[in-house]
Symmetry: C2
Subunit: 327 residues, 2 copies
């Protein structure tokens, strides 16, 4: 089995590769070949015996997309995107990478399909940013996409393209609306949503973290482990049962910041909680109030997608996957 | 006031021009200039004293879009599209005209905005084809867009672009999801939905018409007169009250074919109804069952959009507008 991962140098791309290496295959089929692509050169997976091609490439330029499907990968995972803040700051770059790049990939698949019947499984990482306030809680599966960012608009457009290209029989696509990934490993970053991870990750290792919003802010989370699990399930499940509505809001955990903090207290005690420094930021708070508080995810749950059901479990996954299993 | 109409040679474009000529202006401002565009050369409006530029042009080619906004029209009406059947038969042409052409128009406006602050009112004719079965009845305003045609996909994508370009401040856009226009004037055509009009229009002038579906098929209609009314209201209303969700499902009349026929009987008698010949067509029936049975249109009604509330009124509008006022 030949697997193409676009966005392979990012956090989720790397986690997916690690999981695929551990599993050794997908649904009983061994992985014989990786094609790994990102705007920076991805690393060859340590210990992989099969063929690996690592490329630094931009899918929205020239015939990159056609080159990527030339080797006819069986499964394509597409994570690559300009993130929300940058897509808002640079209108042209956001549309070029997030919309045109994806459309060029889908069109390259369509051309290959016309040439020799090529028909890959296409797993697209979409986002809860496709919805925009005012939002009900929980958000039903049939709620409309009215994004309030250019990033969310680009993801929503790619979802529509994915459904149409799948309906027309060019590929077997599925769009996965990922919750906010928490606890995101690594260093604190400047993303407006970064604090959701920071206030857990840093205190777990004895560091302070800044909380810019009130305790009653509610948001929609899943662990990196579950996020990777969604992608694997999407790559291997029977999609005939999904029908033409190919974009699924994933399950996750709806929690307030206060609930996150109480889970931290249960797992790591009062001294961890004491490391959270409250520095209210009205601008970040306003942004957060427009974000998704949580989804019903009825269809995805029925189709076998599984996420954590407590923040304790999300913290536990982080301790196991990032901190060697104990504090 | 300078008005640009794209798709000016089509049925709705012509009706809009006629209405604008009758009204003489928009919201108290006289019309001083028309730019009329279509793939075939539109006609100069008879009796118009202002400047008129008529162009046969394809917006998806070269710098056509930039040329169209060069004269800085105050209001842009955009009806132009490859229809559903052709967009399904010719994938590339549908995406080129319906998606790329519209995006090139929006980008030409964006560039003009960057150059000199140009900020037109952009009235986009969208379609109920943005939704796809299975559908609730009535369909709420916040129901998701899961089109089952490439045409519907292209319209849904343009809706997303319109909202984003408006949110970013490049233009003042509004998308109008038109119901099926009934009674469509002219000769019977081959559109699968044509019978909704044919079974009324032809018997009203003593001609036979074919009905390919059962009487209990329910669909969503408005007269050409109301459709034009929506566009005029969209061009003149205060859009600040609309907020960022700029695509509105228009009001209309939800009726079964049986209800259409009973309205025809009330207006034109049993002898008109006797001219309807039932020739069941399972393929057309199957298609119809996937179409929208009707919308709540709560937001549009609250914003002052008005449609007929009976099929008798729709037939009466046709008699007045197309048949000189009496049978």
């Amino acid at each position: 089995m030949h697997i193409l991962i676009i966005g392979a140098a990012g956090m989720m791309g790397k986690k997916l590769i690690q999981r695929l290496m551990e599993d050794g295959g997908l649904k009983g089929s061994p992985i014989t070949e990786f094609t790994l692509v990102d705007v920076i050169q991805p690393e060859v997976p340590a210990g992989f015996a099969g063929k690996t091609t690592c490329l630094a490439a931009d899918m929205s330029i020239g015939d990159t997309a056609a080159q990527l499907v030339e080797g006819r990968p069986d499964i394509i995972f597409h994570f690559a995107a300009i993130v929300s803040g940058e897509a808002e700051a640079d209108f042209d770059k956001g549309y070029r990478i997030n919309l045109d790049g994806t459309r060029m990939l889908f069109d390259a698949i369509r051309m290959a399909h016309a040439a020799d019947g090529y028909f890959p499984r296409m797993v697209f990482a979409s986002s809860i940013a496709v919805v925009g306030a005012p939002l009900p809680f929980p958000i039903p599966d049939d709620f409309h996409s009215t994004p309030l960012t250019s990033y969310g608009t680009q993801k929503a457009i790619c979802e529509l393209l994915l459904s149409d290209y799948t309906r027309r029989g060019f590929m077997d696509g599925i769009g996965i609306r990922l919750p906010t990934i928490c606890i995101r490993p690594g260093k604190p970053n400047k993303a407006a949503s970064g604090f959701f991870s920071n206030i857990l990750r840093e205190p777990l290792i004895g560091q302070t973290a800044v909380l810019p919003v009130p305790d009653d802010i509610r948001h929609w989370h899943t662990s990196p482990r579950s996020g990777v699990g969604f992608m694997i399930h999407a790559a291997t499940m029977d999609l005939d049962q999904v029908g033409p509505r190919r974009n699924l809001s994933m399950p996750g955990l709806s929690a307030t910041v206060g609930e996150q903090i109480e889970a931290l207290r249960r797992v790591a005690g009062d001294k961890a909680v004491a490391l959270i420094r409250r520095e209210p930021d009205p601008a970040i708070t306003l942004m957060c109030e427009g974000w998704a508080p949580g989804f019903e995810a009825t269809r995805a749950r029925a189709l076998g997608f599984v996420a954590e059901d407590s923040f304790d479990a999300i913290i536990q996954a982080h301790i196991e996957d990032e901190l060697g299993g104990s504090l």
